[in-house]
Symmetry: D2
Subunit: 383 residues, 4 copies
């Protein structure tokens, strides 16, 4: 098996512009992840952070992990409107539905916007089906690009509004994209996900109580009822129709036939991390190349598919979530179960990294033409 | 939906016999679970415990959880041979392969034996295929019954040698048995399991290191390579061929056509607990009764199937492993994913309870005609 | 060193009375622990359970760990008033301050009452000092006995109202009582406690969020500001003044000189368990017996002090909380740090066992003259 | 209270030298922490990594957290001798005692050396007392400086051999140094530490088994028997004799009177993190300034003491370990318990950060005149 070495993009030494950045939802886990990355990004300055609960207070009133000295003394939590007004680039990590008007306002004002919520991720009919009401701002949705960089990089370049994918949708799609692109997705595809609790946000409920989650596995929104199902099916349909962006432009809003998957997530007692275990039974047992369907050969397809994606590591060893803890990488592997005829694909990510803030900053980098990993973490905290 | 009330069996007040019990592998997690249950069982007295490592020492030299006063002063760890000689009933919780000669000796001597290891669980050809070598004692295997009580209760009654099922095999089979029995198992069946670490035993390795497992999900022996796959397929095949034991005798050694499943286990950061999430795409969308395939109707099939099984709780709410922590119950539920046509079945158990020592004592009770739950724990430690 | 064997009390075969029991706060962790023990207690029948939130619903609507079949079909959550009216024995596990009127009403009605809250644990002046307001019912307080069985067993026998000690107060006092009784408490005594989260109850807050507590140690109410400080000081003062109840009656309401301790608790990422590490610098380096202050000799004092206490295990090995998980035992050891002159005493308990529901049922047993461990768990779930 | 703002040192833009670095013990947790920091340090290139177990293999054969592309293709594990020969700067993170000859060889060869093991931390007599045998290389010890930067920064500048402090010793000393320097250390000082498991290294044992540590608190080497006791007492003695380095040179090898402390560590179920809770009863109740001993006033002393230490955050809020997870900061606070007369000081650190690899790289930076935080992490991964 030949693993092609990925040509790392040269950091763009030329773009030395500094952007004034604002963050909505800065008191949530997504928001703190943005702060962590944008504070160290060489081309951004955080000029505004919004959170109703902490207005007038400094970052460290909300977050204990930062050195107080690393923030300007006058950087205090403010209202969302003020933050939108003061920034050139807006990251929104506020909960779904809570600030779609503000995001729409920023987009209409021509600002660069990356939205981590679900408000602008789906076409109107899907949105209605999965979220139970109409798109709040169809005109703004029309300007969005779905920010799964590994599928839509070309379209994201130069875009000014990106809807950042959901955490489960990111892992679930990345695990299966190469199969979809190579016609290896069968009729019956299963996405089984286990996830840490931080995806549920920082607000307290019985579901986030340590005493209830420790030593527990909790399935929830199973059997195709979780909203991220739609995102995964859309991405797989686009990959099946258009293939990898490198070969052909893969439009993020294209109407395509989509596979139906059965997706079931489960909470496990950890803070961060998603492992997607995906099962499909392909209609064929030979590859387009004529080679047999073996673990080695399918793994090679994955290597090729992701060879130019700096945040994706395809490897023979099975991925573990701890290898991504605190980082923005996704680790992927695949097996052929020759007894049963299934392909089993695994993707591990940090749901707050590539699953949220990391992917948002990656999108920003691609939008601006920066090196894709600027400000990101390509290594995990281990153990 | 009518949920039939299960007629609880009356404790057998008549059988007041006390059995002298010996335990092999008493310094392992399975062994300590046996001790916990057999010390409180009204009809057993533990007269021998074996562990090479602790010979001559009391229980509390190995296990901190017991009150030293609860054991006879002269109950010390001994060699396996001595324990076998001194007991009428032998429970073996020693690792696979380590004591099959001793177990065979006890069976041949006419003792009552329950073996928690895998040595006598599979027919000769399966054993060779999955374990890489021949059955050690085919004549002893011939006398065994596979101890999945909910499938083979009638055969276990009066048996003198039971091979206790594997922990994954127990959860994986129990989740799907009703579907197999009702012709609802499709061609492509997935068993995705997450499990705590205690199933790996008490011996130390990098794989059991807290620093490596905490905040981690670790897939292992995936894609149909785990040995418990054979046990699950056999049980499903038998249920498909013969149905529930209550309707017809279901022989544990019958040669039957078996479904092929794709089984993948994953370690998650907890000590105890298994959650099996099983996916199958049935060939039909109506039940034998003519009713539609809906969650409500399939759930009703499960209620009926397990109505006389005191350790099985079928419920509408999704099961969680913490509801079984320290107990011998299995909690089961099922969903129909109408979008994709899959049935998704969930079973939660404590891998050291119904998955090991609890099921072993359940088998002993059935063998002797005791109330099936004597000495067992039907409630969990929560939270 | 001679360890005297404890003469286990014979279970009182004569008292076959069955008590109708009611539980206030049955939807909290303390309440579920009472249910777990009282359902298996041979002399109690749970006839009423109260929780505002679950009125009209069955036990399993609130708690997943129980087998639905183990409860009478008509046992539904009710209002506190109804429960008090219907029972002969009342256990109250409702939060501090929430039901003191109901508890007072039950006491005045002559019912047997065990209150797990803090409302009646302290004399008027202490209560005012630590809780900031007056005792709600001084007349009812006057009828109470402080339920630390190992110190006040004689007084509890025959009492009809017991105030069950706090979880930290139980571990903190038991670790040091033998030193207090033998004049070995120095001027400067430190009680450092680490505890699991379940002591904070089941209600959700940022402090109980898994994401905030996992991989964390959180000191809180440190440096003598935690209210359990008063309970510990009172118990130590009484032990210093009167010694062990076996030698002399130790009244739980006596006014005595008390030592001042500095107590600091810390949350650690676990569900159950308290470890108290207590440091004192005695004024002397010889024991009353004339022997030197060594680990061996002090350990012998502990053995003697607790020789007739069935829930206390004194041992040479350092105690660990996991040895008490799900159980009602307390494991205690002690060391002399000869370099610094300190005695360091350790006590491990399950905060929901001996620290709450277990001690409450122990008190009930002593009040009624039952075997002290009826319905209790003397062994832990391990691992 | 006036909190003086710390004048951050300007990064040394002038020193652009790149050092060839070798790492012994690179397959351990300390070693991987060095890799994580030195790979991103602008002035270092890792040219050699040693580990007997992995000779000839790449970094990713041992560590899953790194992106394979971030290492030179020819960076393979090698033997210690080769690594020492190839480097200018040697970091040794091998276990205590295992490579002291190699370290000595490197020091004698004039290389810059930072040793994370205990071999060269203590004077000959202390070493003999606590480690049970003689210093292996007294001449090399004589050239060492004890690398607690906050106490010995002046001496470390320009040193070529630094013995990096132990993890417990770092937290335990930093919590109390200001009290020692201001004459507020009483006769009886307690250091109670809770720690994650990673300090025990990556090798497997029953003590590191997830099933044994989860839901557990395990005291070990308590009551002044842990070897780090000597380091803490030495540092406190030096601070008491000489005060903060800023005011006067504080020699790391000075013979001074030392306080005796009673130190007891406890394992808790987490991977990273140390919280030191330190109790002392000062002989006075007024400060040198004449002010009363209050929390506010003592906190002000701490602020002043650490005002020029970039890795120390003194704050009013109690520190938590999670605020340091994956970072090199230490968070410190203090309380006066006015009832008992104790001062209680708290320090939180990541035992693998400031407690190991972070402090080692900090020492390297100080030795070379770089900005003290180059390559370090001043913010934690949270949650």
């Amino acid at each position: 098996m030949t693993v092609q070495t990925r040509p790392l993009e040269t950091p763009s030494a030329t773009n030395t512009e500094t952007f004034n950045v604002g963050i909505l939802g800065a008191s949530g886990y997504g928001g703190s992840g943005l702060l962590r990355r944008l504070q160290r990004h060489p081309n951004t300055e955080v000029v505004g952070i919004a959170s109703r609960q902490y207005v007038g207070k400094p970052v460290t009133a909300c977050w204990p992990q930062f050195d107080p000295q690393e923030f300007a003394e006058d950087l205090l939590f403010a209202n969302g409107d003020e933050v939108v007004d003061s920034c050139d680039v807006l990251f929104s990590a506020a909960p779904h539905g809570s600030v779609s008007d503000l995001v729409a306002k920023a987009v209409r004002a021509g600002k660069t916007v990356i939205d981590l919520a679900a408000d602008f991720r789906l076409p109107a009919s899907d949105y209605k089906q999965w979220y139970g009401h109409d798109l709040s701002h169809p005109d703004v949705y029309a300007q969005s690009v779905y920010g799964l960089v590994e599928l839509h990089r070309e379209e994201i370049k130069g875009a000014s509004f990106v809807a950042n994918p959901g955490c489960n949708a990111t892992a679930g799609a990345l695990a299966l994209l190469p199969l979809a692109a190579h016609g290896l997705l069968g009729k019956h595809t299963i996405t089984n996900i286990v996830t840490g609790i931080s995806g549920a946000g920082r607000s307290a409920s019985m579901g986030t109580h340590f005493g209830e989650l420790n030593e527990n596995v909790i399935p929830y929104k199973v059997a195709g009822t979780h909203r991220h199902t739609a995102e995964i099916e859309l991405s797989l349909g686009r990959a099946r129709a258009f293939g990898k962006h490198a070969q052909t432009h893969t439009p993020s809003h294209a109407e395509v036939d989509r596979p139906v998957i059965s997706f079931s997530p489960h909470l496990v007692p950890m803070t961060r991390g998603i492992l997607a275990s995906c099962y499909t039974h392909p209609e064929t047992d030979v590859l387009a190349s004529g080679e047999r369907l073996t673990t080695e050969n399918v793994l090679e397809l994955y290597h090729q598919f992701y060879q130019n994606d700096p945040l994706i590591t395809v490897q023979e060893a099975l991925p573990t979530t701890k290898a991504t803890y605190g980082s923005d990488r996704v680790v992927i592997s695949v097996r052929v179960d020759e007894r049963s005829g299934h392909i089993v694909a695994f993707a591990a990510e940090d749901n707050l990294g590539k699953g949220a803030a990391g992917q948002a900053v990656q999108n920003f980098n691609v939008m601006q033409g920066f090196d894709e990993t600027l400000g990101l973490f390509t290594e995990a905290v281990y153990p």
